[in-house]
Structure formats: C-alpha cells, structure tokens
Amino acid sequence: MTGWLALAAALVATGAAANAPGLVVVAAIAAGYATLTRLWTRFGARNVSYERRLGASRAVAGDSVALDITVWNRKPLPLPWIAVDDLLTEGLTVRERPDLDHADERQHRRLLRNTWALTWFERVIRHFHLDDVRRGAYELGPARLRIRDLFGRDAADDEVEGRTTLTVVPRSVPVTQVPTDRAPLGERRAPSSLVADPALFSGVRPFQAGDGLRRVHWRATARLGAPVSRRYEPARGRTVVIAVDVQTLDDVAHWEMAYDDDAFETLCVVAASLARRYLDDGASVGIAAASFTGTPQRIAWLAPRAGMGQVARVGELLARIGPVSSMPFGALLAWLARRLPSGATVVALSARDARVVAPVLRRLGRSGFAVEAIGVASTWSGDALGFPVHAAHLTPDWQHPDGLRLS
C-alpha cells in the first residue's frame, strides 16, 4: 500500500509541475484505493468477536444438539466480507450444512464455513443443529477468521482459539435375562458386613470402646467436643469390571487397525447397559479397554466404584474409546489381573469368537477371579468353555436400541 501512496504523491507532483489536473484524478484514485484497502487491513480484525455455544456438553447417541454461532462486529467499520472456518471433529452432522468440507491442515476434521457481511456494530447469531449425533468425543474449534476488504482482497485473518467439547455417550437400555431363573449378573450390595472398606469413608459415629486410635476422627472430635470414630461402607461382595474387547474381527491382528464399526458400536451400547444394570444392583463397576482415549495411555481404565454417579463416568469413558486396539485383549486381561483384588468379577465383552478369548479367561478364573463372558456376535456360543457365557442381543439394532436381551 505504501507503493500506491508513493505513486499518488508522485502523480500529484508531476501534475502540479506539468499543469495537468488529470494526473491529480489518477493520484486520487490510487490514494483512495490504498486508503480503503488499508482501512480493512488495519482495523478489519479488531473488535470482532466470535462465539460458539453448544446446547449441551454431554448428549446421548441419537440426540440432536443445538449449536449457536455468534459473530459480532463491535466497531463502526462495516465488514463487507467476513468468513469463519470452524473445525469440527469428523462424524458430526450439521442439519443446516449437510456437506462439510474436509479440513486440509487437520486430519479427521471438517470445516463449518460461515460467511457474512456485517454492518457497523452488527451481531449475527446462526442457529445450527447437530443431528443424530454418534457416540464419541467431539471437539469444535479452533476457528479461523478471515476478512476481505471492499475489493475482495484478503485484508486480515485471525485465529479464535476457544474450543468446545461435546461428549456423546452410548445409549444404555434395560437388560433382560433369559431364562430368568439364572443367577443375576451383578451381586447385590451387602447391607452390613464384618469387613469394612477403609477406602469408602461414609461419616462418623460416637467412639466405642475398642476403637483403635487410628479410627478416631480427631478433627471432628475437636469440633464436637466428644470423641467420634470414622465409619466406613461395608466391603462389597464383588467388584465387577467390564473388559471391552475393542477388536471386532476374528482373523485380524490388533495392530492392523481394521474393525467392524457396527460390532464395535454394539459393544459400547451393551457395555453401557450392563454397567447401569450392575450399578442399579449396587455393585462397584469399572471399565477397561485396550484403546486410546486421546491421551498417551494405552489402556482406557475406570476404577470400580459404586453409586449412580459412576454411570456418567462409564458413559464418558465409552464415548472416548475407539475401535482401534492399542494392545491385544489378552494383554489387557493380564494387566487387569495385576490391578484387581482377588475375587473380583471380570466380565469379558467381545464381538469375536469365544474361543479367541477363552484361554486367557480360563487362566483368570484359575487365578481366583470370577469370570464371565458376554458375546455380541450372532454366532457366539460358549459351550464347554469352563466359565459362564452369555449372548447379548440388542433389539432391534444398536442405532435404535430398545432393550438388551441376555441368553
């Protein structure tokens, strides 16, 4: 732009020297062009705010989530052309933009493009809808903001760093067991127990003769003016860990990164439904899967806990795992054996042939763990495997499930 201004000055000087007023006209055009473009280059990106707001940060698969995009030109200079490219994780369907372009600079990202012409102090809110969201952890942002001047030239650009996350948890459905006379999957919480779990602090009670000094809650004692002892939850009879086998194809090594998407989604729905069922029954439930969750950890692990708050945590973890295995399922079970107390129940949930996981599960059983296996494949059969086996069927399918039938 400096060149244009220099040209304008030279033309004015020449025009004055040659007594040629026409050159002043040309100079005025050159100076006007330079000034106009500089206006947007210098002030275009200033005081422009961009905001992205999700109707909910958590949703259940199949829901529709509102997405509001707001752009506000907070200055008197109108913006003839402003475009914002917002990066969305792949897999989101925007009702108002059925076809989203791929982002060139980021893998597995799509671009939600919006273009406006804003007058002075104008604020525009666009209401989008993310329809039929699939299970997953989605990230929206960052956004790239580009401004063009009156002549369509790129005048300014900026990056809006703010990111928004949307966690879509799998659906959980009621579990029915056929036949009904079999032992329930989970174990009911014991109302009292000879053994208390010191990790499960539940309050204080008056000091009783025989309480150890370690059991006295000194701070509460000081506050109440009378000695009180800690009270713990009774120990659980069984801790249930659902080990999800993320490998969904029988004859494929775990590192080959090939998978059956339907089978994997079915596994997630079944795992969420089972976890809710166990928690309803009062068990402590944990989840383990050999999958990355967006961190360097190779194992997605949720320690067993009781209480309905665990349902949300289970959903969160299941939302984050993917169908690409980070290690063999056997290695995951071996890792679990080192992690869990003896007597815990390991429920292996797999879409593969039962014989693939049977040897490891039998070893676990011999090590003192209670082992059960649940298969989601139609050909699942657990005859003579040496541990209880169930076949799980989602009705009618994993996309619109009404119930989970265990047989």
Partner: protein, 468 residues
C-alpha cells in the same frame, strides 16, 4: 470421532462435487454483471489512451468510453460464446469482429466519410488512424475468454492500469492546447471515473466469485457486498462531478464525452436505415412513370454522411443543463434502487428470523468509560494477635511472606508447625495452632493465661523468622 478413518465413499463424494455446484440464479447474475464491468473497464482505459492520441494529433476524440466498452463487450461475448467453438471459427470470427470494430470506429470520423463519399478511398484510409482503437478494444475483450482468469486479469488491470493512466493524461495535457485539450480532458475525465468504478467493482466481484467457486459459499453475503461497493461507486460519481470543477476540468467539455455516444448512436441508426431509404427511393423512381399526370412524388434525398458536426464544446447551455438533469435523474434512480435493495435485504433478514436460522441485530458494545468503576480493593485484613485465633492467623500471614515457611496446600497444620519448628526452632507455631483449633473447632474456652501467651508467641515467632 477422534479415532477411525475417513469414509472412502465420503472422500469420493467430495472429489465428485469439487468444485461445488453453483446455484443457477447466482451464477447467471454474476455472469451478466462481471463481463459488463470488465468491458467498461477495458473500454474506459482505451478511451483515455485514444483521447490522448487524438489530442496529440490536435483533434477532438470521436469515440468515447461507452463506444469502446461496447466494442470490448462484443469481444468478450465472442470469446465466451457457446457455439462455433472450433479453432478456425475462432480465428476467423475474431479477425472479422476486430476489422468490423476498427472500421466502425474509423468511419465515425466525418473527414473519413467525406473522403469516402468523394471517392477518395486512399485518402480516407490515411485518416483517423486512432479509429483502429476500436479493433484493439475488440481484441482486448477477446482476452477475457476464461472465467477462471477473471481475478488475475482484473488484478493486473488495476496494478498496471492505474499507473498507465498517468501516461496518456500527461501526453494529452502536454501535446494539446485550446479546444483539443478541453475535448481531451472531458473524455479522459469521464473515462477515468468509469475505469475506477468499474475496475474496482469487477476486481472485487471476480475475487468473491473465485472464493465462492472454491468454498461453495452462499451468494447472500455477496449481495450485501455488492450494495456496499455500489454505494462507493455512486459516491465516486457524485464526488467526481464537483471535483471536476475544482480540478479545473471545464464542465461543459464533459458534455462532449456524454453527447458523443448519442451522436454515434444516431450515426449507426443512420447507417442502418440507409438501405431502407435507398429501397424506398428506388421504389418511388419505379412508380413515378406509372402515376397519372398531375401527381408527383417528392424526391427523397439520401442522408448526407459527409457533414461535419458542430463543435460540441460550443453546445448550447440548454443541452448542458439537460445532460446534467439526466445525470441527476440517473443518480437518483440509483439511490432509489439502493434503498429498494436495502428494503429487500431487511425483508429477507426478517424472513430468516422467522425461519429461526439467523438473527441479526445492531448492538452497540457497552462503552468502557460508562461502566461503573471497579470497587476498590478491600484493605488488607489485619489480624489481632490478642486473641488465640487472631494470633495464629497473624502468624500464618507472617510465614506466608517467606516462601519456604508458608503453609502448603497439602499440609496439615500440625505438619506445617513441625516443619516450621524444624526450620527456625521453637514450639510457638504448634501451640498457636493447637489453641486455634480448640477455640475455633472445639468451642472450648481457653484459659486466660493461654490467651495472654498468644501475642507473645507471635512476637517470638517474628523474632525467630527475622533471625532465622
């Protein structure tokens, strides 16, 4: 999802629709407007050059920006035709169109017509050489064949066109004087304004079209942009007329450039009607002997092509004011058009609000100066060491000023007291902590003697901190 692979079918679909489909209505509107602007820009630039050439020859320009824009437009239309696209047809057609344009521009000179009517063809060929600018205008329009190059072409046009304009202006001023100079200024001034308005608008439109083609964005934002840029072009025009007077451009000479196209139009009409007139004359000649005696048909005389028009700069005042009034009406119409478009925009915005997709509002951000001043920071709380609670808190405050003695977030009061005791010695902090817990948590009344000891313990702690 974070994990997984792009769906190959989706990628294939993307490749298939790249470039994205263009809505018919939007493309049609653009395909009409952009070439028109390109033709005006080309024709205006050539008109300045031509006027300078004529001024150097000491003659008034006979072709203005509008005529040359029409020539350039003909070139563009030919270049973007959909039929007869073979190379031979292209070459023959281009040459024929260029010859036709050149001949028409050449024929606009009365001296040429006089020479031709007088049978002096060789002399006519040597006259009005700048008339060949018409052919150049056609060929220049021919260069806009590819729509994909519009943005590049318009960018180059501005980059080189504006500095280039200075040269003919300089030549025109230096090489002419008197009436020729006035005629040059009139044509060149109008042409320059037309060039500026059309070239900038065409550049913006070409760039936005390029962006639209690559990103597949909707045309809605372009409409607002067009209104804005149209407003600027209108502003240039409105400012240009009074600026002409300020710059010493004789306003009356502007009429020459504006009346010129009318004169050309009349000449073209005359040329087109000549065969008809000749046919009617021949018919009357044939019918004449058949008519009864006493009935005579007046002789039809052919229009004279060899008349030299009066000097436009001496146009009567009434014509000047009529042209000015026409300009005013045209600009008022443009303003009305702009307001109508704004109204339509508002209606569309209102319709969009009803649909619920987009909300627009003018919202002034709160003025920082008008916001109530932030409340003053609360004064630092001073703890009274006379009470056991105040003494312990005062001691903690003293220790907080030293990083290695400050209580850590994960530290219990007892652990903190032990660490401080190990560092600076003395049991003061531990005892202060115990007194604090008894008073604050247990609600136990503290002995008077212990209460009196509290400030002394704080003092001792301070002393140890300073010495330790």
């Amino acid at each position: 999802m974070v994990f997984g692979f792009p769906d190959p079918e989706a990628v294939a679909r993307r490749v298939e629709r790249d470039p994205p489909p263009i809505r018919k209505g939007a493309r049609d509107g653009h395909s009409r407007l952009l070439p028109v602007l390109q033709a005006i820009a080309d024709g205006s630039l050539l008109a300045v050059c031509y006027a300078a050439l004529q001024a150097a020859l000491g003659e008034a320009p006979l072709v203005g920006p509008i005529e040359l824009s029409l020539f350039a437009g003909a070139g563009i239309a030919w270049a973007r035709r959909r039929r007869w696209t073979g190379p031979m047809a292209d070459m023959v057609g281009s040459i024929a169109l260029a010859v036709l344009g050149g001949a028409l521009a050449w024929f606009l000179d009365p001296a040429v017509r006089v020479a031709l009517v007088g049978g002096h063809t060789e002399a006519a060929l040597g006259l009005h050489l700048p008339g060949w600018v018409g052919a150049v205008a056609v060929l220049r329009g021919r260069t806009h064949a590819a729509r994909e190059d519009d943005e590049d072409q318009q960018d180059r046009m501005l980059r080189f066109g504006i500095p280039l304009l200075a040269l003919p202006w300089l030549v025109g001023h230096l090489a002419s004087e008197g009436g020729a100079e006035r005629a040059f200024i009139g044509t060149a001034y109008i042409s320059t304004l037309m060039f500026a308005a059309s070239a900038f608008t065409a550049l913006g439109l070409a760039r936005l079209e390029l962006v639209r083609r690559t990103s597949g964005e909707a045309a809605g934002s372009r409409r607002s942009w067009l209104l804005l840029v149209g407003g600027v072009a209108l502003g240039v025009t409105l400012l240009g007329i009074p600026a002409a007077a300020l710059l010493g451009v004789p306003v009356a000479s502007l009429t020459a450039a504006l009346v010129g196209p009318l004169r050309t139009l009349l000449l073209v009409l005359l040329l087109l009607s000549t065969p008809l007139i000749v046919a009617v004359a021949a018919l009357t000649e044939l019918l004449g002997p058949l008519l009864p005696r006493g009935i005579t048909i007046p002789r039809i005389s052919l229009p004279r092509l060899d008349t030299v028009p009066a000097d436009i700069s001496s146009t009567p005042t009434i014509v000047f004011f009529a042209v000015l009034a026409l300009l005013l009406v045209a600009e008022l119409l443009l303003v009305g058009l702009y307001l109508w478009y704004r109204m339509q925009e508002r209606r569309r915005a209102a319709a969009a609000e009803v649909a619920g997709f987009e909300e627009r509002a003018i919202v002034r951000p709160p003025d920082e100066a008008s916001l109530p001043p932030a409340p003053p920071a609360s004064p630092r709380r001073r703890f009274d060491p006379a009470s056991p609670v105040g003494a312990y808190l005062a001691a903690l405050e003293e220790l907080a000023a030293r990083a290695h003695l400050a209580r850590r977030a994960s530290e219990t009061p007892a652990a903190h007291a032990r660490r401080v005791g190990a560092s600076i010695g003395g049991p003061s902090l531990g005892r202060l902590a115990a007194a604090y817990q008894l008073v604050r948590y247990a609600g136990a009344p503290l002995a008077t003697r212990e209460t009196r000891r509290a400030p002394r313990r704080v003092e001792e702690l301070r002393r140890r901190i300073q010495h330790g």
